[in-house]
Symmetry: C3
Subunit: 674 residues, 3 copies
């Protein structure tokens, strides 16, 4: 289902970044505006960290400098995404409300001096954020420069869980609401284990440091509560703005780089999804992580165009080794986001800061000034985006979906799991990366979603899977879908309790097997599997004792603790097929398995060369095929249409140079799915 | 000396595990009892974590469910080891007595939500544990199901040292008692160093975090105090029970897996020693660690039969990689414990928990149910134990002893020792493992024990050794014993003060040498030694400057910092021999040295194949020879008797299949030692 | 410039160590004094940790034992360096003034029980240290044994930064003094970034734990403040002593092993520089670190003779693996310090302690007693020093200087720098070590010093470099100097703000280039450079995008992120030359580069064999050439003069045996520099 898309009132693809002029003398502002125009910037985010300069003391506002700034921007045709500065309350706030400071799980009270909100459960903080949001919206709702509102910054980072007294009290209220009675809570948390029964609501606390491992259901609920409190803060600000303003309201996520917020729930609260994304420098294939973040941003917004609110022109500053982007890489990153649904390409930040914790973060205008590679590429990117305006609003089509469930992440990441070598993230990445290498564009989805529109659904380590959601997956297969389930899926219910019937029980019918025991491997151990045709596969970290009950055995363990037993299975179920992969396959081995699943699903792997990324966005009339060449040599593709960056017809043969990008417009071949 | 052995009133070898029915609906109880009978279970531990359900609020008891449970078990012939639930006080307790919470060394207060007792020095906690123990004993002393009392659970884990104000005050009292005067304390702690002199008892505190390393004698005393406080809590409960009940009282240790309790002292307090043991999955020879734990459990109980209170049917859940046991491994583990003196084989736990921190811990009845490998092996083990009833009460004979002194452990494990590569544990394991590989059954002993019954005594890194204990070792050698002393022995006295005369001084006469200086090696460095016959040995981590003063040099350092100097020595002293090993030998090299020491001692290494474990238990009339085959192939032994698991005569030749076990009864050949 | 050198009133080279007789019974004192005479000891440090025994409770003094001790030492001709015991306040102090305890950055309050001062900002502590220093000075100023005062011990270790309330209040005062106004502070700290603007002095705090990275300028100021507070404590004691006494006053530094004190500032406060130095055992070339420490000690004292206050006869006890010194090593270490300007060779400590945290620290009189290698070498060293009396007061000549700036260290070591693989220490070591290997003696200097006396100045990672200091370096080159600048120099100003114009901007003219972007490498990555002559160099961790603007390119990057671009440059500027090294060269590659810089500077690498250390001290009449042979074989040198340790003429050819030392006196060849 496609939902209506509000969008900031501006033409073409939005281009720009965070703009923090309060760090600079007034004369620099004029230079900034001149250079923005040179680069084609049409949207800047303003005021993200300006609370202390806008509200000089409690309730005492000073808007003069912001008035001047917005007028200047408007006069130069630059639109404004106006921020609420609530991610960084002023020193006076913490001084007046020390009880609002965040407390860590191990009991340390977090002071002022860096960045980071106060406790999301603090009444003083909530009052303060509503006041500043209201004041800003009242003053600027009608300002012609303002085309969007940007609440807060990256909720969940660096402040997520909070163990302050205010938070504990709010958690208790949230639990009362959730469970109604202590009996409900005792049952859900399984407090009979380790003698944790509660006889009075006042005895229930947050899952802080304790002599041993804290009740995992309690910790899972605290993660849910944390997400809930952060969202409540967002809603408070959003509604204060809506009371005055009509422009769309967003808050910037950190998809695939932060895990304390349930983005599916947040996607329902914002008018437009926006996302911040930074390459992970240690990963030589960081662009795969980028694609995950982009696809997730699109998916939590229901497929609507979204905003890349922040990325970097080159290196960041907060990783162990902050690798700079190489020539062309920023453009490839930017157009990959666009290919995957972003209609706005923005950066942190416009001008590199001389002072503070992020002075080594790259910017559109670097410390080296305009006579620099980065600035020249920024200008070129502005030109390129100017040529892609007609792509705006086109939708990405996906035949496959990968499940991504924050609650399952939260539950699986708790202590005392069977093996530290098994992480949810790594399994999601492994399966997504295989799809990426095979040129298959995927959405992300929840196990409870309507999946009938997808030919293939992949389930990587969906540890927490409710019975109802498992039934939904079974219905999907019965209806003809192809489901690929990895090990460590379907283990616990929504209270982190093992399913009656044992591990994997809710998926037993659809997969045609039972799981008797986990068989984690020792550190560094590798094992071999053999397919029916004799081919060998390799795996690590994990094996299982499977009891086949209807499924076909596709491969067996040759060695390791499950030697001789079924390792990979395929089960014809209803009109569809259920695959099960009981170990962590190496990349080459996983490729074999997925190829077979594609055949069942009727999806075709792309024929483009390895390292070449192809994504299609479709409008009612056109397909826009994005080709991003990550290779060190040129590639040739048979593609007939008009290449938009050059404006030239391809005449059926497109050459994309090493590290280059092409966007080819063709007539629409098939109707959209939704 | 053999002491009288109280034993729970039941027939044959005890079999069963922890039973926590409060986690399950009532209808499950009936299934449990039925399946227990199917498996041959005759003893279950009940109530270990039931405090919150038995005492619903302070002084308000609810015994109805426990009455029903005990009656049900009794009606089905299943005996009960009744626990006191004091390892996990209820939420109401911590709410009412927040000052009773444990404080860590770095000042964090440990809250509710996992498991773990309150401060062992807290008056409120002591009052509460005495009340619940008294109430349980008063009610169930005469219940026919109850055959034993199980106080608390694993004292020292997860709560050992406590730095709460109550603990600090109690420590001060304990020190007054120990030293009588501040002069005594100042002298014992050597407070003249670093200006730590105390002029007032009120200034003395616990050894909490400080700017640099805290006084090691203070830390050693705090370890002693911690052990003392935990034992005081045990005695309080034990005596409350004894006021009503006549059944034996135990508490379950964690021999070789926890180091905060001095098990020699605890062995004197319990009626029966019981132990929990879990394989360390990362150790491919985990069964050697198992043998250490079993031998230590037997030794601290003076050789009397003991209870394996907990082990696992397969994987545990709290290690980094929780490797599952392979077919047959649970039986080998169980019968090895039995071979080494256990007359009860129990598990944690009967039925796998659906919820909580340990849901991935294996159980007798796994999540997969009765149609599972684990359940079938549980039933088979019950059958096997049923055939071994006549072994009950038989004693293990040992010609060798290995010293194991908790005070020395505590002292050696403190900061600022000569090399982080030298740990007490690793040295104990190295020497014990050599004995194990050579098929020599060993007891553990303290250096002050009467050792005259042993042909060989091994002293692995007895860092703390009082003058009196050193004299005891010398007397042992003079009397004809063979003593093997490793480096880092005899360094400090009971106050962690270097012995007058220098390192090793108290053992200088018996070893015929002086130790001038430690020569720790750099990380990863290996060195070579040469024996008189020219053979090369290899070692690592450590060397020494030895001055030979009467001893024969058995090997010299070829390279490294002590090149050319004595490395291994042998000293004829009185009627015996004192060996000294001044470095950390690799396994093959240690084997050579120990072989020579065996020759001196007149003990014979076993002739059974490598990887085959043989232990003998002897009653007045019979020897029961346990053969546990850890190999991947069958072994043949010349052994004439009756194999008890099959009931068949061996006719002089016994074949034990790969991974199998045999127990052969033969007529007693020699009288017992004690 | 040579400044007047006060010196303790004793003959020849001072020899001895810390003497803590309060740890021993009275009868041991007599043996101590006898053995001191045997070893040639003429100076001992007394009372360093004696506060609790001198001031038994607040204001109640007991000097009887110290009176007796000083009289005994004096009667035996042993001079005393009398300590103030303020590095370890008594238990009663902390009990009476709990608010004076130090608080760590993460909020833990550090208690009593180890060693370590109270908060340097605590009024109670300041009162107490002035009282005890005054009392000691009043009593012993006229004692004939006392020839020097030793304030405190190793300021900055183990107590450096303190976050107690007293410290926070003092920091605020210090900031008011530094900045005058909040506007000044806001500008210097760049508080506009991340919304950290301060509107009230009361809101300013210490840079304690916060949700994210704390403002780096705030942290840098807190490091300055910490140094300032520690120095204020020193001055308080020094002035209390000076009110009574005329002997010189020192406090012992830890040059090259502790970084919380700005030794350049401390050098101006003490009458004589003294230093503690311990080999880093994990470093196989620990003697290079020793040379750095010695040269730094000399340099911060303006070239005057200094005191090696502590080193060790053999192993220490606080490193992971405490490697013992091998025969001859202690003498080599001692005479290297002497060669580099020390006129006193002292040890921690005289007699090994039986108790406490440092019982495994070696001493002049070890646990093994006088029949030991260590004792024999101590006696021999006393004899050797007795023969070197005429060296006293001679000065070390240096043609090269290496910059060493504590403020730059502090700033660079903060969080979120471009790469964790780049540390200030490693760069200083790499360049110094190359000079050491080439036999070039170096001073250390600050970038603002008058450098005109040096032919060569090396700038290793001078991250923080003020514009004025950069101008001073440029003036040095214009005047004919040769400057070698490593990457990550000249990045920020004194407020940790990036220089206007970008990285390296203040050095752009002198180096003839611009720096566009840092290019940190991935973990473990290595890259290749090619010189103009085709030779290959290797490097790691870092590369840069350089824009050559006048400089000659000496080598280019062959691969890695800067492939094809300039890597090493040389720029003729004024009468001198500016070199730039944009990456972290491996040792062999750096040797090539430095050889070329030596040629520019007109300094000659030494022709002595590798591993042979040669340093010259010069008096008005003589050169004293120290040859320290670290090799495993003997070396022959052509050197005509008198070898002082043997008293024999060299007759033009000197053979120094493996591990040996020679000191050759020759007539002075050239006049001193200053």
């Amino acid at each position: 289902m496609t939902r209506a898309t509000p969008w900031p009132a501006l033409d073409g693809i939005a281009y720009g970044g965070d703009y923090n002029p309060e760090q600079w003398p007034r004369e620099v502002w004029d230079e900034d505006v001149r250079l923005m125009r040179e680069a084609g910037v049409n949207l800047v985010s303003v005021g993200i960290f300006s609370w202390a300069l806008l509200e000089r003391s409690e309730g005492v506002f000073d808007f003069a400098w912001l008035d001047e700034l917005l007028d200047l921007l408007h006069a130069n045709g630059i639109h404004v995404d106006l921020g609420t500065p609530t991610a960084s309350p002023p020193a006076w706030f913490f001084h007046a409300h020390p009880e609002a400071r965040v407390v860590t799980r191990d009991g340390r009270t977090m002071g002022f001096g860096s960045r980071g909100m106060a406790s999301p459960s603090s009444p003083a903080y909530r009052t303060a954020v509503a006041r500043i949001a209201d004041a800003l919206a009242a003053r600027y709702a009608a300002h012609p420069a303002v085309v969007m509102w940007h609440v807060h910054n990256e909720y969940g980072v660096p402040v997520g869980e909070d163990y302050s007294p205010a938070s504990v009290a709010a958690f208790r209220d949230w639990l009362r609401e959730r469970y109604g009675s202590l009996d409900g809570l005792n049952a859900a948390w399984g407090t009979a284990f380790w003698g944790q029964h509660y006889g009075d609501w006042e005895h229930v606390g947050a899952p802080a440091d304790a002599p041993s491992v804290v009740n995992p259901a309690q910790r899972l609920d605290f993660a849910r509560f944390t997400d809930h409190q952060l969202r409540a803060c967002f809603r408070l600000e959003r509604d204060a703005i809506r009371a005055h303003a009509t422009q769309p309201v967003t808050t910037n996520f950190m998809a695939n780089q932060s895990w304390t917020t349930d983005l599916w729930a947040w996607g329902r609260e914002v008018d437009i999804v926006s996302d911040d994304h930074y390459l992970w420098a240690a990963d030589p294939d960081g662009h795969v992580g980028l694609a995950i973040a982009a696809d997730l941003s699109r998916s939590v917004g229901g497929g609507a165009p979204w905003i890349l609110m922040e990325h970097s022109t080159s290196a960041v500053n907060w990783q162990p080794r902050n690798v700079a982007k190489r020539p062309g890489e920023m453009a490839r990153n930017s157009l990959t986001h666009l290919a995957r649904g972003a209609d706005a390409i923005l950066f942190f930040q416009w001008r590199a800061s001389r002072s503070g914790a992020e002075k080594f973060h790259s910017a559109m205008l670097p410390h080296a000034g305009t006579d620099s590679r980065v600035w020249r590429e920024v200008v070129d990117l502005g030109t390129a985006l100017g040529r892609l305006g007609e792509v705006r609003g086109a939708r990405v089509q996906a035949e496959a979906a990968v499940l991504w469930d924050f609650e399952s992440f939260w539950a699986q990441d708790l202590e005392w799991r069977p093996s530290v070598d098994v992480t949810h993230q790594a399994q999601v990445r492994a399966y997504y990366e295989q799809l990426w290498r095979d040129g298959i564009t995927a959405d992300f989805a929840l196990p409870g979603h309507d999946l009938s529109g997808y030919r293939l659904v992949v389930v990587p380590a969906q540890y927490l899977l409710s019975k109802a959601d498992a039934d939904n997956l079974a219905a999907y297969v019965r209806g003809g879908g192809t489901l690929v389930v990895s090990f460590f899926s379907g283990i616990v219910d929504e209270n982190d309790a093992v399913h009656p019937g044992g591990y994997l029980a809710p998926l037993a019918d659809v997969l045609g097997l039972r799981l008797e025991e986990f068989l984690p491997l020792r550190e560094g151990e590798t094992i071999t599997l053999e397919r029916a045709d004799g081919a060998a596969l390799t795996a690590r970290a994990w094996a299982e004792d499977l009891i086949v009950d209807g499924a076909d055995v596709v491969a067996r363990y040759v060695d390791g603790p499950a030697a001789g037993r079924a390792a990979l299975t395929r089960h014809a179920y209803g009109a569809g097929t259920g695959w099960y992969v009981s170990t962590s396959l190496d990349a080459d081995s996983l490729a074999h398995v997925m190829a077979a699943a594609y055949a069942d699903a009727g999806v075709s792997a792309s024929v483009v060369p390895a390292g070449c990324e192809v994504v299609v966005r479709s409008s009612d009339e056109h397909d826009f095929t994005f080709v991003v060449n990550h290779r060190d040599d040129a590639v040739d593709l048979a593609l007939d249409g008009t290449e938009l960056l050059t404006g030239a017809p391809t005449d059926g043969a497109l050459t994309v140079p090493a590290g280059g990008i092409a966007v080819v417009r063709t007539a629409r071949e098939e109707a959209g799915r939704a």
